[in-house]
C-alpha cells in the first residue's frame, strides 16, 4: 500500500490533516449525535458510541431532520466538531452543515472515499483545492 490521492470539489475551504473515522452509513443530526460530546448516538448506527471529535469524518452524508446544520454547528461551538468532512452525497443539509461547522470539506471525489479510506488512516484534506491525500494506517510507522 502506498499513499493515495483523490481529486474532487472543495465544499468548504481550508487545509487540515488527521486520523480518519469512516462509516458507510449516513448520519442524523437531530436524534443521531450528541453535540455536547461529538458522539454518534443513533441506536442502529455502526459508529454508535464513537466520537468524531478531531477526526476526519468520512461518510456518505446527512440524513434526518432539517436541524442537521444546527446540531453540527453546536459540535463546533462546544469544541467537539470533526476536523474535516469527506462525503459522497450532496444535499442542502450536508452543504449547510459543513458551512456552519466551518471545517474543510470535500466531495465529488474521483475514487469512492468510503472504499479507499479506512478508519485510522492519516488523511490530509484540502478543501480549497478539492484534494485528499491518504496515508494508509499500515504505512504510518514506516
Amino acid at each position: 500500500m502506498s499513499q493515495i490521492t483523490l481529486h474532487g470539489r472543495g465544499v468548504v475551504p481550508g487545509v487540515v490533516e488527521g486520523e480518519a473515522l469512516v462509516t458507510t452509513q449516513t448520519i442524523s443530526g437531530f436524534g443521531g449525535i450528541d453535540s455536547k460530546t461529538g458522539t454518534i448516538t443513533e441506536i442502529r448506527h455502526e459508529l454508535r458510541g464513537q466520537s468524531f471529535k478531531g477526526k476526519v469524518l468520512v461518510f456518505p452524508g446527512a440524513k434526518g431532520s432539517s436541524g442537521w446544520a444546527s446540531h453540527f454547528q453546536t459540535t463546533r461551538l462546544a469544541g467537539n466538531a470533526p476536523l474535516a468532512m469527506i462525503f459522497t452525497i450532496l444535499t442542502t443539509k450536508m452543504a449547510l452543515g459543513a458551512v456552519v461547522t466551518r471545517v474543510p470539506a470535500v466531495t465529488d471525489l474521483d475514487q469512492d472515499p468510503l472504499k479507499v479510506i479506512k478508519t485510522g488512516d492519516w488523511v490530509r484534506v484540502d478543501g480549497t483545492n478539492g484534494r485528499v491525500d491518504v496515508t494508509p494506517k499500515d504505512l504510518q510507522n514506516d
Partner: protein, 428 residues
C-alpha cells in the same frame, strides 16, 4: 458563483452588517452546493432557535436573553453580535416550544415560557410571522406554482414541491434566517427544472386508501429511495389532502424525500416518462399488500397495551381531522389513565372552537393544542410510558426522542385507545 451587482453590494455592506453577513453566508452555502447563482424568494419558513432550554447555554451568560445575540449566533452563525433589522421577505416561524394557553397541562417550566416569549417578542420586532406550525400551507401560506421558496420543515417542503409545484429545498435554520433578511436562496436542486425530475419508479399494486395506509406507503418508499425523487403509479383515486400530507411527511422522515410525482394528481407529471424526463429509473419498486404489512411491522414494537398518551396532529391536524376527532369523542369520556392531545395550527383551533369541535374534544377530557408538538417541543403528560399516534412521522420520533413505547394506528384506533386505555389497533 455569479452574483448580481445588488447581491455584491449587500454582501459588501450597503444595507448594514446583518444583511451583509446573511448574504455572505448564502454565498458560502451556495458555493458549498456548487450553485451557479442565487434566486429571489419572497416566501420563507424557518425555525427561530432559542425557545427550548439548552441551546442558548452556548452563549455567554449576559447575552442569553439578548435575541440579537442569540439569533446572530444560532440562526446566522455569526461570531459577532449583529443588530437584526426587519426581515425583507414574507417569513413564517415553524413550531414553538409551548402552547402558552396550555402551558400548565403541557408542564412547560416557567423558564421555557420566558424563553419562548423572548423569541416571540423578537419575531414581532423583526416581522417574522408567528404561525408556529409545521403545516403553514393549511393556514393560508400557499405558494404559487413555480414560486421559489426557502422552507425548512421537511413535511412542508415535500407538500409544496409535490402538490403545489412550488420550488424549495429542505433548508436549515441558518439558510432560512439569511433568506428572510435578504430575499435570496441558492438556485440549486429543487429550484431547477432538472432537479425536480423523478429517478425512482414506484408501482402501487395495492389500492392505498386510508390515512394510515398512505402514511405507511410514504414511510416504505422513503426507506427505499432515501433522498431521491419517486414517481408513483397506480393511484386509483384523487387522495384527500390529509392523506398526501401524511404520505409526504412519512417519506421525508424515513428517507430524505423532498418531492414526489403522482401522474394525474401532482401538477408536474402527466405520466411516468414525463416525470422522469431525461433520467433513467435507478430502480422500479412495487408497493403491494406485502410491502404495506412490512412497513406496519417497522412500527408497533411496543409490547404494553396499556396506553397512557395519544398524540394526533403530526403534521398539525387540518380542520377536517379535528372535526373527525370531535365526532368520535362527542358525548364520551377518556379513560382515567389516558390523555389525548390533538395539535392543530392556532388559526384552525379558532375555527374549531367556532364550530364546537374544541368543546366536544375537551369535554371528553382531551385537549386541542397549538403552536407546539409532543416530540419537538418535548411536551407530554406526567408518567407516560406507552404512547400511540396516527402519524408515521410522530411514531418515528416519539421512541427516539421521548423514549416511549409507541403504537401506530388509524385515528379511530387512537381514539378508541384513549376511551378504553387499551391498544387494540390492527392493520385492517
Amino acid at each position: 458563483m455569479q452574483l448580481t451587482d445588488d447581491e455584491k453590494a449587500i454582501r459588501d455592506g450597503s444595507e448594514g452588517e446583518a444583511r451583509a453577513h446573511a448574504m455572505d453566508l448564502l454565498v458560502r452555502y451556495g458555493i458549498a452546493l456548487g450553485a451557479e447563482r442565487l434566486v429571489d424568494t419572497n416566501s420563507v419558513c424557518g425555525g427561530v432557535v432559542g425557545s427550548l432550554p439548552g441551546r442558548r447555554d452556548i452563549l455567554p451568560e449576559d447575552q442569553r436573553m439578548d435575541m440579537d445575540a442569540v439569533f446572530s449566533l444560532l440562526n446566522l452563525d455569526s461570531d459577532k453580535r449583529l443588530e437584526i433589522p426587519r426581515v425583507k421577505t414574507m417569513s413564517y416561524k415553524l413550531i414553538d416550544a409551548v402552547d402558552m394557553e396550555k402551558a400548565d397541562i403541557q408542564r412547560v417550566p416557567l423558564k421555557t415560557q420566558v424563553l419562548a416569549k423572548n423569541v416571540g417578542d423578537f419575531c414581532t420586532r423583526v416581522g417574522i410571522n408567528k404561525c408556529n406550525t409545521c403545516a403553514p400551507y393549511q393556514i393560508g401560506n400557499v405558494p404559487v406554482y413555480g414560486e421559489h421558496c426557502a422552507w425548512m420543515e421537511s413535511s412542508a417542503v415535500i407538500y409544496i414541491n409535490s402538490l403545489l409545484g412550488a420550488r424549495s429545498n429542505v433548508e436549515g435554520a441558518h439558510s432560512t434566517a439569511a433568506a428572510s433578511l435578504v430575499g435570496k436562496i441558492p438556485y440549486w436542486g429543487y429550484h431547477t427544472p432538472e432537479g425536480r425530475k423523478a429517478d425512482y419508479v414506484i408501482d402501487f399494486t395495492y389500492d392505498v386508501q386510508t390515512m394510515l395506509e398512505w402514511g405507511l406507503a410514504g414511510y416504505y418508499i422513503g426507506e427505499k429511495v432515501q433522498e431521491h425523487t419517486p414517481v408513483i403509479n397506480g393511484v386509483t383515486h384523487t387522495p384527500h389532502a390529509n392523506n398526501l400530507k401524511h404520505f409526504g411527511a412519512a417519506a421525508a422522515s424515513a428517507g430524505g424525500v423532498e418531492m414526489f410525482h403522482m401522474p394525474g394528481i401532482t401538477p408536474e407529471a402527466q405520466n411516468e416518462a414525463h416525470a422522469l424526463g431525461p433520467n433513467k429509473a435507478i430502480e422500479r419498486i412495487e408497493f403491494g399488500r406485502a410491502q404495506l404489512e412490512e412497513a406496519y411491522g417497522y412500527f408497533n414494537t411496543a409490547t404494553d397495551t396499556d396506553v397512557d398518551f395519544i398524540v394526533i396532529g403530526c403534521p398539525h391536524a387540518s380542520l377536517d381531522q379535528v372535526k373527525r376527532v370531535a365526532e368520535l369523542l362527542d358525548g364520551k369520556h377518556l379513560s382515567a389513565n389516558t390523555d389525548l392531545w390533538i395539535f392543530t395550527p392556532r388559526a384552525l383551533k379558532t375555527m374549531a372552537t367556532r364550530m364546537g369541535y374544541t368543546e366536544s374534544i375537551e369535554r371528553a377530557g382531551a385537549h386541542v393544542m397549538s403552536d407546539s408538538c409532543a416530540a419537538l417541543s418535548k411536551v407530554y403528560p406526567k408518567g407516560v410510558k406507552v404512547a400511540a399516534t396516527d402519524s408515521c412521522k410522530q411514531a418515528h420520533y416519539l421512541p427516539a426522542i421521548l423514549g416511549f413505547q409507541t403504537w401506530l394506528g388509524s385515528t379511530e384506533d387512537c381514539v378508541n385507545a384513549a376511551l378504553t386505555g387499551k391498544w387494540t389497533g390492527t392493520l385492517a
